[in-house]
Subunit: 241 residues, 2 copies
Amino acid sequence: MSTAGILVIGNEILSGKVVDINSPYLCRELRTLGVDVERIYTIPDEIRVIAEAVKSMSQSYDYVLTSGGIGPTHDDLTVEGVAAAFGLPLERIPGIEERIQRATGKELNQSQLKMARVPVGAQLIDSGDLWFPLVVVENVYVFPGIPELLRKKFESVRDRFRGVPFNLKRVYVTLMESAIAEDLSDLLREFPDLLLGSYPRIQEESFRVMLTLESRDACYVQRALESLLARLPADAIHKVE
Amino acid sequence: MSTAGILVIGNEILSGKVVDINSPYLCRELRTLGVDVERIYTIPDEIRVIAEAVKSMSQSYDYVLTSGGIGPTHDDLTVEGVAAAFGLPLERIPGIEERIQRATGKELNQSQLKMARVPVGAQLIDSGDLWFPLVVVENVYVFPGIPELLRKKFESVRDRFRGVPFNLKRVYVTLMESAIAEDLSDLLREFPDLLLGSYPRIQEESFRVMLTLESRDACYVQRALESLLARLPADAIHKVE
């Protein structure tokens, strides 16, 4: 079973100017692949803060995925933060410099030269992207903040994260959450390894609570589902899927 | 100047089943009020993890706002986590029990009794909500995860967070980010206290980068804006707002 931490880097998220749609995307994709996302930290564009978060997540989880802060401007500090996390200097990558020069047809300016510097020893995964490859340092994958680019780069490496996927059943219940809470606790006593979620919806008409039952063991989920359905009144079940 | 940390609590976010729309809402609202959100941590439904995050954020920021984990089911552990963060026991609040009983017309079951327990000494702010008041422990505001309820409760206390708001100017530029990055660095050398954001958009037709200039001092932003406009070619400015 593998685990991941997601690090969303950018003042624009914290100040409410931009809504982070990258971490929901990564959570869904990693879940489908069978990876447990254990934490999402959203932090400002500060090298020291980035370095501390990267270091701590890198030690705690199998994979760290960062989003944002890798462009050419003053507030793009992720690569420096990741280098600082591992005590690595940055080095120029002539191949990236040449690629930028070919694309623009001009000599590189300071900000473009900055984009061609990566931590010494970083793995560079080329996904056919115009500007530069995906940078991987130890178990840290450095993704761009622009959602279209992040998705493209993630797709190019998604098979690296493949684990044992979860089996999921959803049960939609017409009773209030407080009326079934004890049945859920009893179910968990019978199936202690079940991942059981209970999500009230106040704007739905046809049900009041969505329950999710999950396990990597398909038989275990099926037995738990049968036990749950036996506990609840038949007319309280709107739908099972 | 006041600061805040946001704690999003729930396995459903980390497993990609539910998209967190509460932290973007809180970020926008707090920014408008003049509060700096310094971190967002999204964490699982585990008492120990909740307690550690609450304790650390409570010591680091003026306000902590939590979202989620306060319902009646097995995975609703936020109140216990907040109590553990401050080493407080939980106590029954007869007023809440009576309110639940009046609303349901029945004796409370175990899961409803659980919802009527709060950390000893918690401040209870009544916002006219059916089930229970907003719970505040020290500088920690415990909000529900259901977005409609979170917003209603936040609205009822928003004046508590009022600080000195930011002044914001947006400049939409038709050049690529790497072509203006050095101008931005120069601008920051002239206006070191300016909060300057640079956000490339690859799916826009009329501009390539949105710049944001912010400060709590309106004159400072205006002077910085004028300096920026003087640095960039006039035909590179799509719009200022």
